[in-house]
Amino acid sequence: MVRLWSIYGEPLWVLVNLGFPVLSSLALSLLYVSAGMADYTGFAILGGVMVSFWGNVLWSMASQFNWDKQEGLFEIYLTSPASMPAILIGMSLGGIAATAPSAVLVTIVGWALFHPPIAASWAAVALTFVLTLASLYALGMSLASLYLVYGRQAESLNNVLQEPVSMLSGIYFPSIGSFSPFPFALQVVASLIPLTIGMDALRRSLFFSQGLASVWPSLLALAAMAVVLLFVSTRALKALEKKGRMDGTVAVRIR
């Protein structure tokens, strides 16, 4: 609720999240058109939708505790009766709701301008989308525990992670499978990122009519990744919080 209030209570924040996803998906759709493959503009539009959530995971989940330390909010989390994982799960749900306007706008603008051909199996699309977000935000929770120990480096690490993960996970093009330009070893590495599995399954179910019977291995992998990452983040948060309390550094405002 706090996250929703903080975003929708100040409409400018909604605008903040719109710029890059809308403009990049527009530019990359035009790149597909200029390359002679207008039918693939849907890849760029879907990429614009999912890059909104990936950006939210990095900047509003992974590095959130760093901002909160600087603002003096982190001490309040520590002294509240709520557990850290519960706070992060709440932040995830709020983050998804806060990013929704950006995702919807990218979809509307992309659809209106390019009319990408869609052959969707909607049940598979919906389930894949939900599981992709679940695993992605579980990854964000794991990163949040890691970033608990970082100061200004967190921002630099986010900048380092954002583009390479976008590329490897094939947000705008297939990075695994027969259409991938990557060698097999790199595809294996890319498959360790939940977003890679999610994007691949989303593209297949949204543009190539593949239903649950075809994408179930991806759904299983996404569910497993979500559970494992949730477990890892819970353990890591506890361990790093305990270490920070013992060292007396848990609430230090590192600048």
Partner: protein
């Protein structure tokens, strides 16, 4: 005579800011990863689209690769004045710039120059790495003309683009003097707008009229054209023409940006927001 010492001091501070959060070598290496990934993403999109359509052209791949590297370069350092103001206000550093006897515009120019140097290094490294990696992935040779004369032409183009990028930086900086949140979105907006309008990924002519005419006339479009004329087409005449328009447009952008920044700064003093800490 203009004393350039504050410019160099600000540039050195920028280098410290951007590289000293870890070892300088590691910071440069890490700063190179994002441009490599960005250049590779756009090049792969072109490759996927054109091979599926049966229209793959290696020189067009070079067009996309060079454009993608350079738009990211412009975005990286034109945003720095905004970052210097926003971060400086938030951490209480920027008011100290006003206490000094030198102008804040000179300080911002120094910060932008340091970022230009870092971004030039990382962009050229990214172009080189992406060139070899993409050539290996696609089993093709990307037709770049790399010899001392074309490298010199590219270096001159990079330098000639500075006034235009700095002008854009001052415009964004003028806004961030007043902003309290939206300035954090500016890098995304600047990068996105340059992707669409600077001819980085596709010729501006595919945009609807009159947007295509405006996009083609931007100094940033001219800069990217000049760079392509140097290292893809090896066309000195086209290069000279694009560079001339880049220089003229860049100077106009700088004068305009600086004027707006000075006016915004004077008004911000009167309005009492010059040192307002951001929320």
């Amino acid at each position: 005579m203009i004393n350039l010492r504050p410019l160099f001091v600000a540039a050195w501070m920028g280098v410290q800011h951007d590289l000293s959060w870890t070892t300088p070598g590691a910071a440069l290496l890490l700063n190179t990863i994002a441009p490599i990934a960005s250049a590779m993403t756009t090049s792969i999109i072109y490759w996927l689209g054109s091979t599926t359509a049966g229209a793959f052209d290696p020189s067009r791949l070079a067009f996309v690769l060079v454009g993608a590297t350079l738009y990211a370069h412009i975005a990286a350092y034109s945003w720095v004045p905004t970052q210097a103001i926003a971060e400086g206000k938030n951490l209480g550093v920027f008011p100290h710039v006003y206490i000094t006897s030198r102008s804040s515009a000179l300080y911002l120019a120094g910060r932008a120059l340091s970022s230009f140097m870092i971004s030039t290094t990382t962009s050229m490294a990214a172009l080189t790495v992406a060139y070899f990696v993409l050539g290996s992935f696609f089993h093709t040779t990307i037709p770049l003309v790399v010899d001392p004369s074309t490298v010199l032409m590219l270096a001159v183009a990079l330098l000639v683009n500075i006034p235009g990028a700095l002008g854009l930086g001052y415009l964004l900086g003028a806004y961030s003097l007043y902003a309290s949140k939206f300035e954090w979105a500016l890098p995304g907006y600047v990068a996105g707008l340059l992707m669409v309008f600077s001819g980085a990924l596709f010729p501006p002519s595919i945009l609807p009229w009159p947007i295509s005419v405006g996009a083609a006339a931007l100094p940033y479009t001219m800069f990217i054209n000049a760079a392509r004329d140097a290292i893809i087409y090896d066309s000195p005449a086209a290069y000279a023409s694009a560079l001339f328009y880049c220089a003229v447009g860049g100077l106009l952008a700088l004068v305009f940006g600086l004027t707006v920044f000075r006016a915004a700064e004077a008004k911000a003093r009167k309005d009492g927001v010059i040192d307002r800490r951001l929320a």
